[in-house]
């Protein structure tokens, strides 16, 4: 995206301040999480919107976050190798379809493998176009998404029409993957229902996260640290990332840049495929046309939100999944309660900025906090349409606030020619 290059002209001028030294240490991170938790518990107690921290909401948030997170992880692998993969949506579609198809015929685990293979195939196509043929990454991604829709429908025509419950737009029901619970956690039930401040909240969160967990959820959750480990702690990951940071340097050191870009993009597709499998085999037990609903793009947004890092990406996906789950489960009531949470958060940020003598930013934050507070106090629900847009608005606002502190791989999205 060349236009970006000129907006921050030559290094130095108006370029964003270097981001060094702002990665949070573990204690700071834990403290922040704890703070958010206490605030959330307080808001729940104050508003009586008990769903905010209920086990169901947490489970639903996970459920909603995982396909987004897997798509985001896919985006991460590709972009760390320097390839923008906007075809994630298409690869998700492949995942949903192949997962359901193979799952129906040969059982859920084969379905998962087939979904991974299907997504990887989409990734391979993207790699072929962008790496070998040097096609613009966005262009190729868009084409793959168009293609995936057609292919899925065409294949449904061949494979699902005539099966019981199947048709051109959907598969027959697919057998489920196993679900596991951590023993003992479900006994927190009683505590959660007491609605005590903080304690019940914790109980709800633990129950939601540790009981009735699908195997794929576990796998997806493990993939986050695994990705971190592979990309940041192994030679393979180092080489792969070097292709996204400075492919010329990598090449000069004997790294086969094309090959690693292929690895990155194919793995990216495979992860999106797994996300698709989650959609058609865990979140529901059926493939339906249009089921992916733009989650590939949201995944990409979560990845940017997370500053191209697995942990950040996971929090982005969870934030998105959480707002989405709340609005789906409780309609506008919980989201309305979130207004109060937002107001408190903004107020805290504002006061902090004022203390640090950044008066303008602080003042704006405080004013907005007050406005949101007034909005909360004077209404008792939010129009459904805005509730549904809440995750998207959140993403946009966060990007607008933070994008200048984000750092994408230096050679991300650029065409690379060997020896050039």
């Amino acid at each position: 995206m060349t236009a970006d290059a000129v907006l921050t002209p030559t290094p130095g001028a108006s370029a964003p301040a270097p981001t060094r030294g702002r990665r949070f240490s573990l204690p700071v991170l834990l403290l922040a999480i704890a703070g958010a938790l206490v605030a959330l518990a307080a808001v729940r107690t104050l508003t009586g919107a008990n769903d905010l921290t209920s086990n169901g909401a947490v489970r639903a948030a996970l459920q909603s976050a995982i396909p987004i997170g897997l798509a985001g992880l896919g985006g991460l692998w590709a972009e760390r190798a320097g390839v923008v993969n906007i075809g994630l949506e298409g690869q998700l579609i492949f995942g949903t379809w192949f997962g359901a198809w193979a799952g129906y015929h040969w059982g859920p685990w084969v379905g998962v493998l087939a979904a991974i293979a299907g997504g990887a195939l989409g990734g391979l196509l993207h790699a072929l176009a962008t790496v070998t043929f040097g096609v613009d990454h966005i262009v190729s991604g868009v084409a793959i998404t168009i293609l995936a829709g057609g292919v899925a429908r065409y294949l449904s025509q061949l494979a699902f029409k005539g099966l019981p419950g199947g048709g051109v737009t959907q598969s027959p029901p697919v057998p489920e993957l196993p679900r596991w619970s951590v023993p003992g956690v479900s006994s927190l039930d009683g505590l959660e229902r007491k609605h005590w401040f903080l304690l019940s909240d914790l109980a709800g969160i633990l129950r939601g996260a540790l009981t009735e967990v699908s195997a794929l959820t576990v796998i997806a959750a493990l993939l986050v640290p695994l990705t971190f480990w592979v990309l940041w702690r192994t030679p393979f990951g180092l080489r792969l990332r070097s292709c996204g940071e400075n492919p010329k340097a990598a090449e000069s050191l004997g790294v086969n840049v094309y090959r690693y870009k292929y690895y990155g993009v194919v793995i990216s597709g495979a992860l999106a495929g797994l996300g698709g499998a989650f959609l058609s085999m865990v979140a529901s037990t059926i493939y339906r046309e249009g089921q992916t609903g733009g989650r590939g793009y949201i995944g990409l947004a979560a990845m940017i939100f997370g500053n191209w890092r697995p942990g950040g990406l996971a929090s982005g996906a969870l934030l998105f999944g959480y707002t989405d789950a709340l609005q789906l489960r409780g309609g506008s009531k919980s989201v309305h309660a979130l207004l109060l949470f937002l107001a408190l958060l903004l107020l805290a940020v504002g006061v902090w900025q004022l203390v640090r003598r950044r008066l303008a930013v602080g003042a704006i934050a405080v004013v907005v906090a007050l406005l949101v507070g007034v909005w909360y106090a004077t209404t008792d629900s939010i129009p459904g349409e805005f509730v549904q847009a809440a995750p998207h608005i959140t993403t946009l606002v966060v990007l607008a606030l933070a994008s200048q502190r984000l750092r994408m791989p230096a050679a991300d999205g650029q065409r690379y020619r060997r020896g050039g």
Partner: protein
């Protein structure tokens, strides 16, 4: 050196076949590849590809189909030009969809508003067009402002804005706000435009009872405007320069931020027109079925290489495929092969163009190398002197 008269070579002479031929062959090759892949799909499902293609050709060239193809391409064309304006300077406006939905809704609502009762139909049409362009530009402008002030990638922001715009449309298109509901209907729309604000069709295709929509004229104007803007105005030059080499453009005095803003506003403005053909010529009210051309438009713009004529051809091809595919259902042939064909065409075309560009660049370099006889390395060697 003396003044040299401009080389008044004819247009034909200026054509350089070695450079052009690969570029012309590329789309043809890509289409063949796409046809091949769809044929394979057809064979897999036990259908005769030739029979399928010939019945598509038959049906797609009937007078009624021609009208439909022209009407479809009108929308495709405008949307693709909107996308192409951004592409020309490496901006990805993926938000055309949201832009024109919002634009069409607001324009339709204002156009039918009672406070305009005094206005003659013509004035309303003009007003609708202007408002649609403004709203489209505004919605694209949000992404532009986020990009130039906050550095938010327009790819992500326009995707988000599509959805948010859609929700605003959904919110406004209820009977509490801008919507009305005809008796016995389940559809909420904006109020129907007064009859004199309907744009009449043009009986262009003999043998068909239906008319080509009048808005096709606007599409042509958009195309001419786009062509003129790019090739004949300073703004167009700046736009192209920014797209080709952003740093050179800045050094030439182009204001990069302003260009992003202009390009997005222009793109959004044109996007605002996309829904009007249907609004003015067919539906006469905004209904929730408006929308969905954003991605198609990207495909078409790519296929047409962002050139005004190329996009026109690509729109016609795309419309032909969409129209002709309808006959496949009747013949029990899965019409999804058309989507596959569209997707592979885009992919094959971009790959083919990439290869063609490389080929022709290499040919050019060789030609220049030959034309300029290099002063061989030993030419100056004999002038060397030995230090004492």
């Amino acid at each position: 050196m003396s003044e040299v008269a401009a080389p008044r070579r004819s247009w034909a002479e200026r054509l350089d076949w070695r450079q052009l031929l690969p570029r012309l062959l590329a789309p043809v090759a890509a289409l063949l590849i796409a046809a091949l892949i769809s044929s394979i799909a057809l064979v897999i499902s036990d259908k005769d590809p030739l029979a399928a293609f010939s019945s598509m050709l038959d049906y797609g060239t009937q007078p009624d189909s021609l009208v439909d193809i022209l009407n479809k391409s009108t929308d495709y064309y405008i949307a693709a030009v909107a996308v192409a304006i951004g592409f020309r300077m490496n901006l990805f406006n993926i938000g055309v969809d949201g832009q024109y939905r919002l634009a069409t809704l607001v324009a339709a609502a204002v156009g039918a508003a009672p406070f305009l009762d005094w206005a003659p139909g013509f004035l309303r049409i003009v007003l609708i067009v202007v408002i649609a362009m403004l709203v489209g530009a505004f919605w694209a402008g949000v992404a532009a402002v986020l990009k130039v002030t906050r550095g938010v990638s327009e790819v992500i922001s326009t995707i988000m804005l599509n959805f948010i715009g859609g929700q605003i449309v959904a919110f406004l298109l209820t009977t509490n706000h801008l919507g009305v509901q005809a008796k016995g209907s389940n559809d909420v729309t904006t109020p129907v435009l007064p009859k004199d604000a309907w744009l009449s069709g043009i009986p262009l295709i003999p043998g068909s009872a239906s008319d080509v929509k009048g808005f096709v004229v606007v599409a042509v104007l958009v195309g001419v405007g786009y062509w003129f803007l790019l090739g004949h105005t300073r703004l167009g030059f700046d736009l192209r320069a920014s797209g080709q080499n952003a740093t050179s453009a800045v050094a030439s005095g182009v204001n990069a931020r302003r260009m992003v803003l202009y390009a997005m506003l222009l793109s959004g403005g044109v996007a605002g027109l996309v829904g009007l053909s249907e609004l003015l010529g067919e539906r006469h009210a905004y209904s929730s079925s408006v929308g969905g051309l954003g991605f198609t438009a990207i495909g078409i713009a790519l296929l047409g290489r962002n050139s005004p004529v190329g996009i026109a051809l690509a729109s016609l091809l795309w419309a032909f495929l969409a129209r002709a595919s309808q006959i496949l259902d009747i013949e029990e042939i899965p019409k999804e092969i058309i989507t596959i064909m569209q997707g592979t065409t885009v992919l094959a075309v971009v790959v083919a163009y990439e290869l063609a560009t490389r080929l022709s660049r290499r040919a050019q370099q060789r030609r220049v190398g030959a034309a300029v006889s290099e002063p061989g390395p030993d030419k100056s060697a004999d002038r060397s002197e030995v230090p004492a």
